[in-house]
Symmetry: C2
Subunit: 341 residues, 2 copies
Amino acid sequence: MNTRFLKACNNEKVDTIPVWFMRQAGRYLNEYRKIREKYSIIEIIKNPEICVYVSILPVKKLNVDACILFSDLTTPLIFMDVEFDIVENEGPILLKTIENYKDISNLKNFDERKIYFVGETISILKQSLDVPIIGFIGGQFTFVSYLVEGKATRNFIKTKFLMLNETKIWHYLMEKITENLFMFAKYQIEKGVDALQIFDSWIYVLGSYEFENFVLPYLENLISKLKSFKVPIIYFSLGDLAIKFINKIDADVFSVDWRVDISQLFNIDKKFAIQGNLDPCVLLTSFENIKLRVEMLLNQIKNNKGYIFNCGHGILPQTPIENVKMLVEFVHQKGREIYGS
Amino acid sequence: MNTRFLKACNNEKVDTIPVWFMRQAGRYLNEYRKIREKYSIIEIIKNPEICVYVSILPVKKLNVDACILFSDLTTPLIFMDVEFDIVENEGPILLKTIENYKDISNLKNFDERKIYFVGETISILKQSLDVPIIGFIGGQFTFVSYLVEGKATRNFIKTKFLMLNETKIWHYLMEKITENLFMFAKYQIEKGVDALQIFDSWIYVLGSYEFENFVLPYLENLISKLKSFKVPIIYFSLGDLAIKFINKIDADVFSVDWRVDISQLFNIDKKFAIQGNLDPCVLLTSFENIKLRVEMLLNQIKNNKGYIFNCGHGILPQTPIENVKMLVEFVHQKGREIYGS
């Protein structure tokens, strides 16, 4: 088993820098695009054989150090019995958005019988891989914004309105969602994932006051309950809001985007590991430019904290696979130089 | 003439806190919605009588302390001879995006004969108002992203690709756009605007490296040339990237959104004034909640820097006008208490 990813999560000594990518099973891969001509994302998730194939694809092709379970922010809609349409290029569109107590009461609680295919996928992956498997849940704010807006949004107006003007409903919803996302994460861990990433992409639309009062207490609660399972918990978000609250968020790893100055993260006096930082747009440029930017990034690494190479967001569909392959090799090589192994 | 807005821009003593809003002439006003049933934004801009009517509307209704010239990020497309379609709810869509040297050479340079209606609107506004008039240009990155993407975008991939992989073309484009936005701003100042706001909303999609190397030198150049005209220059952007570079951006006023901790801004040892900060979503909530949030914001004001009340982004179309009216009155009242007048 290749353990350098898990070691880096725990700030242990590694032979080189581990690498994986968000959306490493994605549209930049020919094979993935072919699968997607036949199946929607939800159909892939519901079919363990296809889901395993898709999850493993990049591990074989790229020599990355971890396998992310192929999943989606909206997977819990399945066990919650929330109805949606699949719209091409837009993802699921809810038939009815969540607005009041009754809507929230109608959300079904976690039931592993309705989501058994996720467990089957994890079991097959466990037998097929010699790299760790990363489980996947959305962060509460990011997941709730989907329920309230009914689809991907740019401005989060309905979500903020509920939060600020229907505060009791907001707290009721966040409590229920926290419990359900926890149960779904727990299920993935029990089925065998070696680490769990919380995808909380959209918190950066909030100011500090909103985050601290309406989101952070639920996040603290979720992470503290998840930590009892002894697998590394990775907290991913865009922007630098999470970093302002880094002392209150007890994740093992902070996955950050290109807006965060990671040299400052290495100087924070707290135990955590760091993941990410490269703008995925850099992967669209020349080998020469990619290497230049990766070197600039890796020059900031210090041995006091574990570091996992990743982009600050998912791999873009336009990315040439040669660039990704070259990048993995380059990071591994540079990591050996940096760690002197 | 009501001068408290201009005084605050210059950190001078004021009787109370000046207030105005981005998109104060917008869809939350009945009268504006009626005008927009008949005319597109570009048609309003091209017709001085309608443009004056729309610009003055909120000044009369709300008792705000400044009038923003009704305009749009894309107004310069008119003198640049860039062809576009108007698509409802999407704004102008370019018929051809800007990709190479030839496309850039084909962009026509500023010619006031093609944009005379803007000058006429300003002249009429000058005669009709007893509050200062704020002129309007886009920031270079924000304007260029429109040329390169051809429309509003979420991910700015084409723009970043040009910046990072076609660097010479990028610099050629930024140089030409800087000169033209400067000329357009100069024209507005010569026609009589009392202040000028640079709308650079989208810079927050960039990391520090990209901003510093591919955007900031042009912005420094633009602002330093504009400062010779002795009208206050307001730099508006979303997120907190501009604040990281506040010592290099020589604007008189920084207009910030709710992601910026303004109490820290008041402690920065440099002369500038501060504008904004309230999340416009707060204006959708109850009087009680609006007052609470405004008080929290105003408690951070210190006398060493001028402060202009505004939201961190434009007023939302859903905003009840009663809330906006109440807010203006409340800020004026609180301002009198704070400044002891």
